[in-house]
C-alpha cells in the first residue's frame, strides 16, 4: 500500500524529516508516536501534499506508484485521506454539499456515476451513526461553530463516507475528553478492514488503548528510532521518550 524510503522533508526551510523509512500494508494499523517536534505531523502533511512542505529526498510509493507525482486532490481521489489535527471551518459550505462534491469527484475519477442529493443523504445518515454524529451537525456548515470533539467526529464521519484506502489520522485524540475519544475510536475501528491501511499519529498512548495498532513506531528527530508491537506504546507511556532521544538512533 505505502512504501516510504529514506524520506527527507522540510517544513518551510527547516529540515524535519531526516531519512524516514516505513512500510504499510493493506489491513494494517500503524501508530506513529514521538515527542513534539519529532516530525509526526509533518509526515502526515507531506503525505497529503500540503503546501509549505518540501520533499528534499527519498521516495514514497503508494499503490506502487510515486505519490509525490500526484496533486493533493488526485491523491485524495486515489484513496489517501488525512484526518486533520485542526479541522478547518468552512463558513457557508454545508457539510452535505461539500462531502457529496468530494465523493462525486472521487467517483468520477474511478469512472463511476454521480450520486444525487437524495441518495447521498441516505448514505450520510447511515455513516453518521458510526460516529454518533447528530444529524443536525451533518447538515450544518463544515465545522463552523463545532466544538473540538464535534470537529474530530466530523473528520471520521468524512472518512466513513469517502472510504479511503489509506487513512492518516493526525492527533485525532488531541482535545478530546474520554467519552468523545471512545466514540471516535469506535468509529475508526468500524472502518478497519482488510483493504484499508491506517496511520495513527499520536503523542499519547491513550488513543491506542481504543484503536489497537498492529505496529508502533517511535519517531525521533525525523527518523523512526524504534519499532515494535502494541506493547511498545505501553512501554513509552511509562518511560517517556527521553531515553530514546539520549541514545543515538540505531542503537536498538
Amino acid at each position: 500500500m505505502l512504501r516510504i524510503t529514506d524520506l527527507h522533508a522540510n517544513a518551510g526551510d527547516k529540515p524535519i524529516l531526516k531519512g524516514l523509512t516505513l512500510n504499510v500494508n493493506g489491513g494494517e494499523v500503524h501508530a506513529i508516536m514521538g515527542p513534539n517536534g519529532s516530525g509526526k505531523s509533518t509526515l502526515a502533511h507531506v503525505l497529503a501534499g500540503r503546501p509549505g512542505y518540501t520533499v528534499t529526498g527519498g521516495e514514497v510509493l503508494y499503490k506502487s506508484s510515486p505519490l509525490f507525482d500526484l496533486a493533493p486532490e488526485v491523491r485524495a481521489r486515489e484513496g489517501v485521506f488525512l484526518a486533520y489535527q485542526y479541522p478547518v471551518e468552512l463558513p457557508g459550505v454545508s457539510n452535505l454539499y461539500f462531502l457529496r462534491s468530494a465523493l462525486n469527484a472521487i467517483r468520477k475519477h474511478r469512472g463511476e456515476p454521480d450520486i444525487d442529493a437524495i441518495d447521498f443523504l441516505a448514505i450520510a445518515k447511515e455513516k453518521a451513526k458510526l460516529v454518533d454524529m447528530d444529524e443536525a451537525l451533518v447538515k450544518r456548515n463544515v465545522n463552523e461553530g463545532f466544538s473540538g470533539g464535534e470537529k474530530k467526529r466530523n473528520e471520521i464521519f468524512q472518512m466513513a463516507v469517502l472510504e479511503p484506502s489509506l487513512a492518516i489520522l493526525d492527533e485525532t485524540d488531541s482535545g478530546l475528553d474520554i467519552d468523545a475519544l471512545r466514540t471516535v475510536a469506535r468509529g475508526v475501528n468500524k472502518l478497519r478492514s482488510e483493504d484499508r491501511a491506517m496511520i495513527v499519529v499520536t503523542h499519547y498512548q491513550r488513543l491506542l488503548e481504543y484503536i489497537v495498532p498492529d505496529f508502533v513506531h517511535v519517531l525521533i528527530d525525523g527518523k523512526i528510532a524504534l519499532s515494535g508491537g502494541k506493547e511498545l506504546a505501553l512501554e513509552l507511556e511509562s518511560k517517556g521518550y527521553e531515553w530514546l532521544e539520549k541514545e543515538p538512533a540505531g542503537a536498538h
Binding site: 503546501p51 486532490e73 478547518v88 459550505v93 462534491s101 465523493l103 469527484a105
Partner: protein, 436 residues
C-alpha cells in the same frame, strides 16, 4: 476645459423638445442645464476618484425607442411566475406584452408604468419633483432630464401585498447603442408591506448604457424587502441609484447582487428621518476581467433611536477593480442611533484590487457605531482542506467564492426568489478563477 457630455449630446438636445406639464419641463430643463455645464463625472471628483466612467464610445447613445419585445422574451422568462407581478422595460420603455396583465395586479396598490402616467396622469408623480431635494451629481441630473419610463408603485395604507412585484429592466439593442433612463417611484403606505425586486439585465451582445434610478418613500411602520439583481451585459455599463427616506418605525431591507460583467456603479442613499426606523443593507459585488464594480452608500441618521446595518462583500478577480465606499452620517438629533458597517473582500488574483473606504461623520455622543473592513486572498488553509478531500482547484475555489457570496444570498428569505437569483448569478460566480 469644457465639460464632456459627448455620448449624451443627442439626448441632451432631444430633452428640450419633449412636451409635458410645465413643472416637469422645468425640472428636466434645470437638470439638463446642470448636466451640460458640469459634464460627465471624472476621477477629479472625490466620489469618483477610483471609478472612472467606461469608454462609452464616440458615437451618440440613442435615447431609446419602443422596441420589439421579442429579443427580451427569453431573458425575461425566468423572472415570470404565476404568483408574481412583473413590469418589464425593454430598451427604456414599458413592454405591455412582456409585463403581467393588469388583471393580476395586487389590490391596494396603484401600479403604473411611468410612460402612461406622464401621458395621462402626470399629477400623480408631481410631489416627487416639486420641492423635493435634488440628488447631487451629473448622472442623477441626466436621469431626471431623460427618463421616459419606469414604474410608479403606491401601496396604500394598511395593505400587506402578498405577491412579489418585479421590475425588470432589459437592454437588447445590438444595432444601436441605447441609453435607457429609468425612474422608479415607490411609496409604501402606513403599516403596509411589500416585497420588490428590481433586476437590470440584458440580452447577449446588447450595447448602450443604463441609468436606473429608484426612489422610495416609506410611511410610518411601513416594511419593504428589496432585492436587486445587477446583471447588465458587458456592453451596457450600468449606473444605478437607490434613494430612500424612512418614516417612523419603518423597516427597509435591501439586498444587492451586483454580479454582472459590465461596468457598474450603485449609489445607495438612505435617510432615516423617522424615529426608530431601521435599514438593513447587504450586498455583494463581483468584478472580473478589467471590470469596475462599485458600491457607494450614504446612510444618514436623522431621528432618535434609528438603526442601520450594512454588510457588503466583494470578490475581485483578474485585473478587475472593486470599490466600496460607505458613509455613515449621524446628525445631532439622532440620539441613541445604532449604526454598523462591515465590508469583506476577497482578491482572487495579484492584479485585482479593491478600494474599501469607510467614512464616518458623527455629530452626537449618544450613538453606537461600529465599522470594519477586511480585504484578503482566498484562504489557503480552506483551499487545501477541500483539495485534500478530492476537489480540484477550480471546484474548491468555486465552493469558497460561492460560500463567501452566499452569506449575502441567504438574506433572500423567499425560497422561489432565492433560487431564481441564485440561478441568475450562478454563471457569474462560476466564471471566477484564481490566478497568481
Amino acid at each position: 476645459m469644457s465639460a464632456v457630455i459627448a455620448p449624451f449630446s443627442q439626448i441632451a438636445s432631444a430633452v428640450k423638445t419633449w412636451s409635458g406639464p410645465a413643472w416637469l419641463t422645468d425640472a428636466r430643463n434645470a437638470a439638463i442645464d446642470r448636466f451640460v455645464s458640469a459634464g460627465l463625472p471624472t476621477t477629479r471628483l472625490e466620489t469618483w476618484r477610483t471609478t472612472p466612467l467606461p469608454d462609452l464610445g464616440s458615437s451618440a447613445l440613442f435615447p431609446g425607442f419602443a422596441s420589439t419585445a421579442n429579443k427580451a422574451k427569453a431573458v425575461v422568462a425566468p423572472f415570470t411566475a404565476s404568483d408574481v407581478v412583473t413590469l418589464v422595460f425593454v430598451d427604456g420603455f414599458h413592454s405591455v406584452t412582456l409585463s403581467s396583465s393588469e388583471a393580476s395586479w395586487p389590490k391596494g396598490v396603484r401600479l403604473a408604468p411611468m410612460s402612461r402616467l406622464l401621458a395621462v396622469k402626470p399629477e400623480e408623480i408631481r410631489p416627487w419633483f416639486v420641492g423635493a431635494d435634488d440628488a447631487p451629481g451629473a448622472m442623477h441630473d441626466l436621469n431626471t432630464a431623460a427618463f421616459r419610463d419606469g414604474a410608479s408603485i403606491v401601496v396604500e395604507d394598511g395593505v400587506q401585498v402578498q405577491v412579489e412585484v418585479r421590475l425588470i429592466v432589459v437592454a437588447t439593442s445590438i444595432e444601436q447603442p441605447i441609453a435607457q433612463h429609468i425612474r422608479n417611484l415607490v411609496h409604501v403606505g402606513r403599516g403596509s408591506s411589500l416585497r420588490l425586486m428590481v433586476a437590470v439585465i440584458g440580452g447577449p451582445g446588447a450595447l448602450g448604457f443604463t441609468n436606473d434610478h429608484t426612489e422610495i418613500s416609506m410611511a410610518e411602520r411601513a416594511h419593504l424587502d428589496l432585492i436587486r439583481v445587477h446583471e447588465s451585459p458587458v456592453g451596457v455599463p450600468h449606473f444605478d441609484v437607490l434613494r430612500a427616506t424612512l418614516g417612523a418605525h419603518s423597516v427597509l431591507n435591501d439586498t444587492l447582487l451586483q454580479t454582472g460583467p459590465s461596468w457598474t456603479r450603485s449609489e445607495i442613499d438612505i435617510v432615516l428621518n423617522g424615529e426608530r426606523a431601521t435599514v438593513d443593507l447587504g450586498g455583494v459585488f463581483l468584478a472580473r476581467g478589467t471590470q469596475i464594480s462599485d458600491i457607494h452608500t450614504v446612510v444618514s441618521h436623522e431621528a432618535p433611536g434609528v438603526t442601520s446595518r450594512q454588510n457588503y462583500r466583494g470578490l475581485a478577480a483578474d485585473e478587475a477593480r472593486g470599490v466600496f465606499h460607505g458613509q455613515i452620517k449621524v446628525e445631532a438629533e439622532a440620539r441613541g442611533a445604532d449604526a454598523t458597517q462591515n465590508n469583506k473582500n476577497m482578491l482572487l488574483s495579484k492584479r485585482a484590487q479593491v478600494h474599501s473606504t469607510p467614512a464616518l461623520e458623527i455629530l452626537t455622543d449618544d450613538v453606537k457605531c461600529k465599522h470594519g473592513s477586511a480585504t484578503g486572498q482566498i484562504d489557503q488553509g480552506q483551499l487545501f482542506y477541500l483539495r485534500s478531500r478530492g476537489l480540484g482547484l477550480d471546484e474548491a475555489t468555486r465552493i469558497l467564492t460561492r460560500a463567501f457570496a452566499g452569506e449575502i444570498l441567504s438574506r433572500v428569505s423567499a425560497a422561489d426568489t432565492r433560487s431564481l437569483v441564485e440561478s441568475q448569478i450562478s454563471p457569474s460566480l462560476d466564471g471566477l478563477g484564481v490566478a497568481a
